[in-house]
Symmetry: C2
Subunit: 439 residues, 2 copies
C-alpha cells in the first residue's frame, strides 16, 4: 500500500504488466490447450476409428514391453527385446493392409539383410588380419548400401517394397558391423529376426482382432461416395469437391486377405480405373460449374428451348450415377442394369438436342446470346459420354467381383422410391437448363 | 551314346527338358538381370543425381560404421554406436530439405522422448515395489503411445512432424523400458541422443557438402517447366502431361537454408499458388486437346473466319507463358513485363472475337457446324483469363523474392529472338484455328 501511494506510475506499469501477462497467458492457453482440444474433438468426431487406433497402438506397445518386465521372457532375449518394441511402433498403421505390408516388408528385409550380413562377416573374418577385416566390412557396407539405395528409385520396387529395402540396408549394416565386435554374429541375426517377428505378430494380431480397419472397405466406399457426389452435382448441389483416389490406397488393399464381403484377389485394380473416370467426369462438371456460377445469363426464350433436353440429360445421368453408387455400395449388379436404362434415356435426349440444333430456327438469333447455352449443352453431352464409360467400368467390376443379383422389379422399385424422394426435394427446381450462362 | 541308342524316347524327353531349362534360364536371366539393368540405366540417364545420391548414402554409412572399428571411438559408445548407423540409414533423403527435416525431427523427438522416458522411470522407481513399478511403466507407455499416435492425425503436425512424433514414441518406450533393467537410465538417454546427433550430422554434412540436391531449386525449376509446357501446348505440341506439385515438395523446401540464388524465407508458398493456377490452365488445355484430337472437322470457310483471333489468342498466350517461365528460371522480373504486353494483345484478340460473334453474318449457317469452333474459341478465351491469373501470381512472386531487373530493351530483344525461332519452326503452321473440331 505504501509503495503504491508513493509511486502511482509504477502501479500503472505493474497493472499494465499484469494485464499483458494475463492476456499472454490466455493466448498461450488457447494456442496450447483450447485449439488442439478443438481439433482433437473434430478429428475424433469425423472418424471415431482414429481414437480406437490410438488405443490399439498404446495397448500393443504396452503388451510387448511386458517382455522386459518378466524375468523368464527377458532372459531369452536380453536387451534385444527392444527390437520387438521398436517393431510395433514402426509397423502399426491405421489399416490392416498397411500394417500387413509393413510387417511383410520388415520381416523379409530383416531376413535377407541378416543373412547377407552374416555372409559379409564370414568373408571378412576369412582374412584374419586386423587391418583388412574392417576394410572388407566397410567396403561391403558401402556396396550394399549404395545398391540398396539406388534400388529404392525403381518405380515398381518403390511402390511395393521401399520400406523393405530400407530395413534390408539397416539390418545388413547392423549385423555386419556388430559382427566385428561380437563373434556370435549368427546369434545376433537370429535374435533380431525373432524379436522383429514377435513385435510384428503382436502388432498384426491387435490390428486385426480389435476393431480392424480395412483399407479395401474404405476404398470401396470412397469410390461409391465419389460416384454419388457426381450424381448430387447433376442434381444441383455441385459445390462439393472430390477426395482423389491415390495409388497408395489400392496398394494397401492388395495386402489384405479375405475379410467381410471381399474375397482374396478382389479386383482392386478396377477401382483405380473407375477412380480415373470419376475424375474425368468431375473435370467436366467443374467446367459446367464455371458456367453455372457466372453472373451473365442467356435470355429466357433461348434457355426455354434447350431446357427440356438439358434437364433430361442432367437428371438421367444423375440417376444413372446414383444407381451405380448403390450397386457398388450394396454389391448388387442389378442396379447397374437400372443405371443403363437411365443412360439410354440420357442418350436419346442428347440426340434430340443435336437434331434441334440442326433446324434452321436460329437464323434470327444473335449468336453471342446462344453461345453459353450451346456450350453447356455440349458439356452435358460430354458428361453423358463420361457416364457411359463409368457404367462400363462398374459393369466390369460387378462381373469380376461377382456382385449379387436381385430381381429387376425390386431394383427398379428401389430406384423409383429414390427418384420420388429426389423430385420432391426443392433444390432441383432451379434446374441447370434455366441458369446456364457465360461471361 | 549307348543310352541314347537304347531309348530314343528318353533322349527326346531329355532334349526337350534341356530346351525348356535353357529357355527358362534365359527368361529368368532377362527378368532378374536384363530388365533391372535396363531400368537402372534409364533411371540413371533420366536423373544422374540418383547415382550420386546412392554413392553418398553408401559413403555416409561406411564412414559412420568406422566408429565400430576404431577402439578409441568404440570405447565411448559401445554397442550404442549402432544408433548412429541406424540414424544415417533412416534420415538420409534425396534432397537437403528432406534430410534436414528428418534430422531435426529425429533430434527433437529423441530429446523430448528421452527426457520424458527418464521422468517416467524416476516416477515408477519412487514406488520401489517390484509389482507396482512395471504397472506404472506400462501405464505411462500406454498413455504416451496412444496420445502420440492420436497427435499424428492432426493435419498440421502430420505435415510438419509426423516422423518426430514417431521417434518421440519410440524413444520414450525404449528409455522407460530399458530403465527397468538398467539403473543408469540418464546415461542410456544421453548416449542415444549423442549417437543420434553424430549420425544425423554425418548424414547432413555429406548431404550438403557433396553435390547437394536442393528441393527448393527443383521446385523452382518444376514450376518454370510446367509454365513452359503450357506455352508449348499452345504452340501446338500439346501431348505432354504435367507433373503435379505436391505439398511435400514445398515442405521440404521450407527446411532449407540460404543456398545458391535462394535466400532463407524465399516465398515458397507462392510456388504452390502458381502450381494451382497452372493445373487449372492445364485442365482447360486438356478440354481443348479433346477437340483438337477429335476426327470430325468443322467446314473450312467457318474455320477461316475464326482463325485469326484464335491464332492470336493462342500464340500470344504461349509467348506470355514462355516469358513467365523465363522470368522464373532466370529470376528476372523484366520478362514478366514482356509477358504482360503479350497478354494485352491476347485480350484484344478475345474482344475482337466477341464482337465478331455479335455481327449478324451467321444467319445462314447451320448451327451444328459452328458449335465446335465456338466452343474452342470460348475455351481459348478462358485460357487467356487463366494466363492473366498466372501472370499476377508470377508478378507477386517476383516482387516478394526480389527478382533482378534488366533493361526492357534487352528483355524484349531476347523475347523477339525466341519468337522468331518459334515462328520458323514448322510445327505451328497447322495452327489450332485450322484444325478445331468436335464430335
Amino acid at each position: 500500500m505504501e509503495m503504491a501511494s508513493e509511486n502511482p506510475e509504477s502501479v500503472g506499469f505493474l497493472s499494465r504488466g499484469c494485464c499483458w501477462f494475463t492476456s499472454f497467458m490466455k493466448n498461450l492457453a488457447s494456442k496450447l490447450v483450447l485449439e488442439p482440444a478443438r481439433t482433437a474433438r473434430s478429428l475424433a468426431q469425423e472418424d471415431p476409428r482414429r481414437i480406437i487406433h490410438s488405443i490399439k497402438v498404446g495397448l500393443a506397445i504396452a503388451l510387448v514391453s511386458l517382455i522386459y518386465y518378466f524375468d523368464p521372457l527377458y532372459e531369452g532375449f536380453g536387451v534385444s527385446a527392444m527390437w520387438a518394441v521398436m517393431t510395433v511402433v514402426v509397423v502399426f498403421e491405421f489399416s490392416v493392409g498397411a500394417t500387413l505390408g509393413r510387417c511383410v516388408n520388415r520381416g523379409i528385409g530383416t531376413f535377407i539383410g541378416g543373412a547377407l550380413g552374416v555372409a559379409a562377416h564370414r568373408l571378412a573374418s576369412c582374412f584374419g588380419s586386423e587391418i583388412v577385416e574392417p576394410i572388407v566390412l566397410a567396403a561391403s557396407i558401402f556396396i550394399f548400401a549404395a545398391t540398396g539405395t539406388f534400388a529404392r528409385f525403381f518405380p515398381k520396387w518403390k511402390a511395393r517394397c521401399d520400406y523393405g529395402l530400407l530395413i534390408f540396408i539397416l539390418t545388413f549394416c547392423l549385423i555386419s558391423v556388430s559382427g566385428y565386435r561380437d563373434d556370435e554374429v549368427i546369434d545376433i541375426a537370429l535374435t533380431r529376426l525373432s524379436t522383429v517377428m514377435i513385435g510384428g505378430s503382436a502388432a498384426l494380431a491387435i490390428c486385426i482382432l480389435l476393431f480392424p480397419v480395412w483399407a479395401g472397405e474404405d476404398l470401396h466406399h470412397l469410390v461409391a461416395d465419389n460416384i454419388e457426389k457426381l450424381g448430387d452435382f447433376l442434381e444441383g448441389f455441385g459445390d462439393e469437391y472430390f477426395k482423389t483416389l491415390e495409388d497408395g490406397n489400392v496398394n494397401f488393399a492388395k495386402w489384405e486377405f479375405r475379410h467381410g464381403k471381399f474375397r482374396f484377389r478382389h479386383p482392386w485394380g478396377e477401382y483405380q480405373k473407375i477412380g480415373g473416370l470419376i475424375r474425368e467426369c468431375a473435370f467436366r462438371l467443374d467446367s459446367l460449374n464455371g458456367y453455372l456460377k457466372s453472373e451473365v445469363q442467356a435470355p429466357q426464350e433461348i434457355r426455354e428451348i434447350f431446357q427440356e433436353s438439358c434437364q433430361t440429360m442432367s437428371s438421367e445421368s444423375s440417376h444413372a450415377l446414383k444407381n451405380m453408387a448403390r450397386a457398388i455400395r450394396t454389391m448388387t449388379s442389378s442396379y447397374v442394369a437400372v443405371a443403363k436404362s437411365h443412360i439410354a434415356i440420357a442418350k436419346s435426349a442428347a440426340d434430340n438436342l443435336k437434331s434441334l440444333l440442326k433446324t434452321n430456327s436460329w437464323q434470327q438469333t444473335d449468336l453471342l446470346q446462344i453461345i453459353p447455352v450451346i456450350t453447356v449443352a455440349s458439356l452435358l453431352i460430354e458428361v453423358v459420354s463420361s457416364t457411359v464409360k463409368i457404367a462400363d467400368s462398374v459393369h466390369q467390376l460387378a462381373s469380376l467381383a461377382r456382385f449379387k443379383k436381385i430381381s429387376e422389379d425390386d431394383a427398379s422399385k428401389s430406384d423409383q422410391r429414390n427418384t420420388e424422394r429426389i423430385l420432391r426435394s426443392p433444390s432441383i427446381e432451379g434446374s441447370h437448363g434455366l441458369t446456364i450462362s457465360v461471361e
